[in-house]
Symmetry: C2
Subunit: 284 residues, 2 copies
């Protein structure tokens, strides 16, 4: 299997894109004509992929939306994973975290059974909850650091003292993630809604990839996230967008609308990072 970081770098380069499209299926939001089909989950995702595969660096299904749909959701997720293009990495947004033996079961589920290139994990339970994921050296492991939601302030911002150094909890998590990055497979999740977090995290972890949720519906600051988040190569950031892309339209033009939204976000990011953005190809 190609390493996640290499697959990601190739897709970033090939598609001149830092856009990570969130494949979050919601029955109430997909176009009614799609929803009528028995295979609507995979059909909808296939349509989004067809419309965007040359404009993105990553696809990110969030497992919560599939679990909420029961057996049909899991079947739809498997069908979706089977049709995703081999040269665009898949990050399963699962936010798992459990004691060692269970974390190992979760890692097997995400990396072996579902075949994901990368996954998100929750650091609250510490190293041994993350270690079974890290043991897959060819996959990416994105550790929640400073998340995009309002509740991020509840605990992630609490100032703790470690070895005489006082800093918010999320900075201690970033520092731990750097220690855990023995195989170059660790990333961090930092929300675009969090001013100040990018500078703080980049000071600690200058090179790990950052998964950046919170643009679009959550109102994050894209310019800040790109300016302060990109690494010295102008990359190293995956800007996640789901609803604003996949539900850009619920009419029959949903594919074209998804493509237009992806293109607009890609080009906006590229302008911000000063990279050469390609033109505006039409739907294949």
């Amino acid at each position: 299997m190609t390493r996640f970081v290499d697959k990601l770098a190739a897709a970033v380069q090939r598609n001149a894109s830092l856009v990570c499209v969130g494949l979050d299926v919601e029955a109430a939001r997909v176009p009614p004509r799609v929803r009528e089909r028995p295979d609507w989950i995979a059909h909808f995702n296939a349509g989004i992929v067809e419309a965007t595969a040359d404009l993105v660096c990553c696809y990110k299904p969030n497992l919560g939306f599939y679990e909420a749909l029961g057996s049909a959701g899991w079947d739809g997720l498997r069908q979706t994973l089977a049709i995703l293009p081999a040269d665009v990495p898949v990050l399963l947004d699962a936010k798992r975290g459990d004691i060692g033996s269970t974390a190992q079961a979760y890692a097997r589920a995400l990396f072996d059974d579902l075949g994901a290139d990368a996954a998100t994990v929750n650091p609250y339970m510490g190293f041994d909850a993350v270690e079974p994921f890290l043991a897959y050296h060819d996959r990416g492991v994105f550790v929640l650091c400073k998340t995009s939601n309002p509740g991020a302030a509840d605990f992630q911002d609490l100032v703790c003292t470690v070895d005489g150094r006082s800093a918010p909890l999320f900075e201690h998590v970033a520092r731990a993630a750097v220690r855990w990055n023995q195989h170059g497979n660790v990333g961090l999740v930092v929300g675009a809604t969090q001013p100040g977090a990018f500078r703080a995290v980049r000071a600690i972890a200058p090179t790990v990839p950052l998964l950046v949720p919170g643009v679009g519906a959550q109102g994050g600051d894209l310019a800040m996230a790109v300016a302060e988040g990109v690494d010295t190569h102008g990359a190293g950031v995956l800007v996640a967008s789901s609803r604003a892309i996949v539900y850009a339209s619920s009419d029959d033009n949903w594919q074209a609308a998804a493509r237009a939204a992806t293109l607009a976000l890609r080009d906006e990011i590229n302008a911000l990072r000063g990279a050469k953005s390609r033109g505006a190809p039409t739907l294949p």
Copy 2:
């Protein structure tokens, strides 16, 4: 639906038990003769339930083990949930946590689709990641506080200062959980491997139920957990045990062995809490 707390209290009373059996299926550990069956997951769990249903206060499947088995795992989980006795509550150990809209999807998955009486959640993302679970007033929501694994020390023990009060992170989590307990549906997870944690948590949260992993294979201190964890009624603690019960034997006597292990744990806990323990009934 009967409220989780009432269902739990009734089972604790009826079975004179604080034992919560973890239904964690692992292909390599179930008896070979069971493993041969196509429906081995539900068959194994049904056998454990048949052998223990009058000795426990709760059943706790951990989703990681089912996810690791793919579609067969999810089917087996559904079949298991369908045959669990209606008067013993089911706690799905899922440790979920995500932003509001996704947390809502997870809550629907666990409480509506799978029909759990209670679930575990991860507090790292703060209030809005837990709120969609709390909105189910009749279910139980167990917030990870001080977990049983070695990595618990990595972040949960970091000393943070909130409103001038310096305390380990897990105590701040306990304090938040008490604030979140507006509908009497919050519990906390505190590992039996954590000396000192029970006194600290009980000082903050004297009445919420505690889910206590870490006895058995993880080497926790049962006497300490019971002595310092039980509430003023001698209850309020769910002692979780999985491997030591469900894999007590991999021979044909696996049901009798599971029953004997459950009975021994039940009676040991009852002796520790000074409650009247019932006799030793044989397999029904």
